[in-house]
């Protein structure tokens, strides 16, 4: 398994490639949870290159979700694989996670939720 992590402006894009299962979860946790640390980050988890996930992999996604939320960050998941979606639905995670079919939609979500309103800037324009 390979994990690509890119720090973008205002968010981090994480793309695990390969299989996220009991065998690779330790690596995933090491990379992603360390990346998050205690800082506030918005995070997009792009799962379109994931070929397999088991219950341990799901646990690591939940752990990441909780970590980001506890730091008041936003997290969005990109999933285009019907089988992956089926597994998430089986365990009701589709009702908890913000899941989008492509990166653009996930960006809109994170951008909207993670943005800010600069009152001073807009005060002259209204």
């Amino acid at each position: 398994m390979e994990i690509q992590a890119e720090e973008k402006e205002g968010y981090v894009l994480v793309t695990p490639v390969g299989e996220l299962d009991v065998y690779t979860v330790p690596l995933f946790r090491k990379v992603v949870l360390k990346l998050e640390g205690d800082r506030r980050h918005d995070l997009i988890m792009d799962l379109t290159k994931l070929t397999f996930i088991d219950s341990s992999g799901l646990g690591s996604l939940i752990e990441t979700f909780q970590k980001v939320q506890s730091a008041d960050g936003e997290i969005a998941f990109v999933i285009d694989n019907p089988h992956m979606l089926k597994i998430l639905k089986l365990v009701d995670l589709d009702k908890v996670f913000h899941i989008f079919p492509n990166l653009g939609r996930a960006l809109e979500h994170v951008g909207a939720a993670g943005g800010y309103y600069d009152e001073e800037f807009f005060s002259d324009l209204t």
């Binding site: 009991v22 065998y23 088991d54 219950s55 646990g59 939940i62 089988h83 365990v91 009702k95």
Partner: protein, 140 residues
Amino acid sequence: MKPIFRGVNKSKLKVDFPCRHKSLRRARSVVRKFAQRHGFEADAEDIALATQEALKNIVQYACPVDGSMHITMTDAGDRMVVEVMDRGTGFDPRAIEEGPPSPMALHGRGIQIMRGLMDEVLVESGRGSTVVHMEKMRAR
């Protein structure tokens, strides 16, 4: 220690795997291949994942003294049957009847996934052995 294949006949295959994490992917691959060869292509991934979840429970909670996990795959015509057996300490099956974990729980989803993917899942456990019996009906 490598897997030991104990072919019974064309429609039945028994394989013993050493009780460790490294066996899980290999076992998944064997089950998927058996399913595909016997006309269960559409559900091969589901059957393989359900089997991996059953095996993972053994590795995590019940590695037996003989160090082995046993899988029997059967093409029963209208269904594929997978039995996963270990000679570990066993457990009280009522423990898995308490309902699914909350969506935010970090553990405890294995049996939920097995039941969601397969048409029938029965767990028998007592002193000295546990058998997980799973069935998947052939897609029409």
